[in-house]
C-alpha cells in the first residue's frame, strides 16, 4: 500500500532521511517513534506529498506520490493552525466540500463523541479541543491512508484518552492504514500493531508489537530504551 524506495531527504547539508526502504500494508496502526529531529514528521510529509524526497521514490497504492495524493491520504499536521474565521461546524463543512471522500455523518458522530460544540469559534477553542477537532477532520475521510503527526502532543491526559478512544472507534482497519508519530508511547501502545523506530534519518527497528511482547517480552518503551542506548 505504502512503499518508500531508498528515500533520502536532505535539507541543505542536513540529512532528515537516509536511504529509507519501507513497505507498509493496510489494516494496521503503525507508530513511528524517535527523538526530536529524527525524521518522523518528514516521513509523513513525504507520504502526504507535501515534501519531496531528494532521492528515491514513494508510492501509495502504486501511485507515485505528489501533492495530489491528497485524494488518497488524510494528513493531520503537528501544527495547530486553522482558518480562524470559521467555527467548528463551518470547518467541518469546508473540509466536506474539499474532499469527496469526507463522510459528514461520521464527522458529526466523531464531533459529538469528542464533545465539540458546532458553534464554537476556532480562535476561542482550547488547545485540547483544537486537538480533538483535528481528529474529527482527519478520521472523517474515507481514504486508504491516514497520517497523524503528533496527535497527542501537548494535550492533557483526558484529551489524550478521548483521542485514543476515538482512534479505536472511528477507523476502518479493514481498508485503512494509520501511521502515527508520537512521543506519548504509553498512551497508544495498546492500539499499535507495528512500531518503527527512527534515529538520525535511519530506520533502526521495525517490529510487530505483539511479537515484541511475546518473543522479546518487551513493551515498546523497553525496546526503545534498548535500541536507543
Amino acid at each position: 500500500m505504502i512503499k518508500l524506495n531508498r528515500v533520502t531527504k536532505m535539507y541543505m547539508r542536513n540529512r532528515a532521511l537516509y536511504d529509507v526502504d519501507l513497505e507498509l500494508t493496510k489494516g494496521k496502526i503503525i507508530g513511528i517513534v524517535g527523538p526530536n529531529g529524527s525524521g518522523k514528521s518528514t516521513i509523513l510529509k513525504i507520504i502526504a506529498g507535501l515534501t519531496h524526497p531528494s532521492k528515491g521514490n514513494v508510492t501509495v497504492n502504486e501511485v507515485k506520490v505528489d501533492r495530489l495524493i491528497a485524494n488518497q491520504v488524510s494528513y493531520l499536521s503537528e501544527l495547530d493552525e486553522y482558518y480562524g474565521f470559521y467555527n467548528v461546524g463551518q470547518t467541518i463543512d469546508f473540509f466536506a466540500t474539499q474532499f469527496q471522500d469526507f463522510n459528514k455523518e461520521k464527522a458529526e458522530e466523531i464531533r459529538k463523541f469528542m464533545k465539540l460544540d458546532r458553534d464554537s469559534k476556532l480562535k476561542h477553542l482550547s488547545k485540547g479541543n483544537r486537538g480533538r477537532l483535528k481528529i474529527v477532520l482527519t478520521l472523517s475521510r474515507e481514504v486508504p491512508v491516514i497520517l497523524m503527526d503528533e496527535p497527542l502532543s501537548g494535550l492533557d491526559p483526558m484529551v489524550r484518552d478521548s483521542i485514543v478512544k476515538g482512534l479505536i472507534s472511528f477507523i476502518d482497519l479493514e481498508n485503512q492504514i494509520i501511521l502515527i508519530t508520537t512521543h506519548e508511547i504509553k498512551e497508544i501502545e495498546m492500539i499499535l500493531d507495528e512500531v518503527i523506530a527512527i534515529k538520525d534519518g535511519d530506520i533502526i527497528g521495525h517490529h510487530n508489537v505483539d511479537d515484541l511482547r511475546s518473543e522479546k517480552n518487551m513493551g515498546i518503551v523497553e525496546w526503545m530504551t534498548e535500541i536507543y542506548r
Binding site: 507535501l50 505528489d66 501533492r67 486553522y82 474565521f85 469527496q100
Partner: protein
C-alpha cells in the same frame, strides 16, 4: 466545480480584512479631504482628486490582495496544500476572489470619482461626457489587465520566495527573491522590451482608437477653483503588445503553479 467554488468562498472570507481595509481608509480620507476642501470651497475638486488617486492606485490592488492572502496562507501551508485540487485551481480561486473584491472597490472609488467630477463642472465644454466615459472604460480595462499582469508577476516571485525558504530564513529568502526580481524584471525584461526583436514581435495588429485625450492640464487657484484643459491626439494600440503580455502572464502563471505543485514544501 463545487469544491472549487467553496474554495473561492473561503478565499473571499480569508481576504475579507484586505477587502474592508482600503474601503474604510478611502472613506476616511474622503471625509478628511472633504472637510478641508469644504473649508476652502473646493469640496468637489478635492474629492475628485482623492477618488481619482484611489482608483488609479488599484493597479496594485491584486498584488496587495495576494500579499495578504499568500502571507496568511504561509502560516498554514499544510491546510492550503493538502488538497486534491491542482495548484492552478488553488491559485485561480485566490485570483477570482481578488478580482471580485477589486471590482467592488473599483466601483466604489470610480463612482465617487465620477459623481464628484460631475459636481465640479470642471470638465471643459469641448470634452463631451460620452468621451470621458469611453476613456474611463478603456482605462478601467487596462487597469485590470495591468493589475492581473502585476499580480501574476508577484505570484511567480512569491513561489521563488517559498522555494528559498526551504533552505534559508525568511529575510534571506525575501532579499534573494527581490534581487532576482530586480535582475530579471529590471534588467532582462528591460533589455528584451528595448530590442528590435521585441518591436518586430509586438508591433502588429494596429488599432486606431481615434482621437483620445493624450494630456490634461489642471489649473488650480484659490480664486478661480480648478480648470482642466485637455488635448487630444490619435491613439494607436498594437494587438501584438497585448498578446505578448498575455503570453508572458500565462507562462508565469503556469510556472508558478508548477513550482507550487512540484517544488514548494510544507
Amino acid at each position: 466545480m463545487t469544491a472549487w467554488l467553496n474554495l473561492t468562498k473561503k478565499e473571499l472570507r480569508l481576504g475579507l480584512p484586505a477587502f474592508i481595509m482600503p474601503i474604510v481608509a478611502f472613506f476616511i480620507i474622503v471625509a478628511i479631504s472633504a472637510y478641508f476642501g469644504n473649508r476652502y470651497g473646493f469640496l468637489g475638486e478635492t474629492i475628485t482628486a482623492v477618488a481619482f488617486a484611489a482608483t488609479a492606485i488599484q493597479v496594485f490592488y491584486l498584488v496587495y490582495y495576494f500579499i495578504h492572502s499568500l502571507s496568511t496562507e504561509k502560516k498554514k501551508m499544510h491546510l492550503w496544500l493538502h488538497n486534491p485540487m491542482p495548484a492552478y485551481k488553488l491559485i485561480l480561486a485566490k485570483l477570482v476572489a481578488a478580482i471580485t473584491t477589486m471590482a467592488v472597490t473599483f466601483i466604489i472609488t470610480g463612482t465617487t470619482f465620477l459623481l464628484a467630477l460631475n459636481s465640479t463642472k470642471i470638465i471643459p465644454i469641448e470634452i463631451p461626457w460620452t468621451y470621458v466615459m469611453e476613456l474611463g472604460f478603456l482605462g478601467s480595462i487596462h487597469l485590470l489587465l495591468l493589475a492581473i499582469n502585476l499580480a501574476v508577476l508577484f505570484l511567480f516571485f512569491w513561489m521563488i520566495f517559498l522555494l528559498f525558504t526551504r533552505t534559508l530564513g525568511n529575510f534571506a529568502s525575501f532579499a534573494l527573491s527581490f534581487l532576482l526580481f530586480m535582475v530579471l524584471n529590471g534588467f532582462l525584461y528591460g533589455w528584451v522590451t528595448s530590442s528590435a526583436l521585441y518591436d518586430t514581435l509586438t508591433m502588429w495588429g494596429s488599432i486606431n482608437l481615434g482621437d483620445i485625450l493624450s494630456s490634461a492640464s489642471v489649473n488650480f487657484n484659490l480664486e478661480m477653483g480648478a480648470d482642466i484643459t485637455g488635448e487630444t491626439s490619435e491613439l494607436i494600440i498594437y494587438l501584438g503588445t497585448y498578446l505578448f503580455d498575455a503570453i508572458q502572464t500565462v507562462i508565469l502563471f503556469f510556472a508558478s503553479c508548477w513550482i507550487l505543485d512540484r517544488k514548494v514544501e510544507v
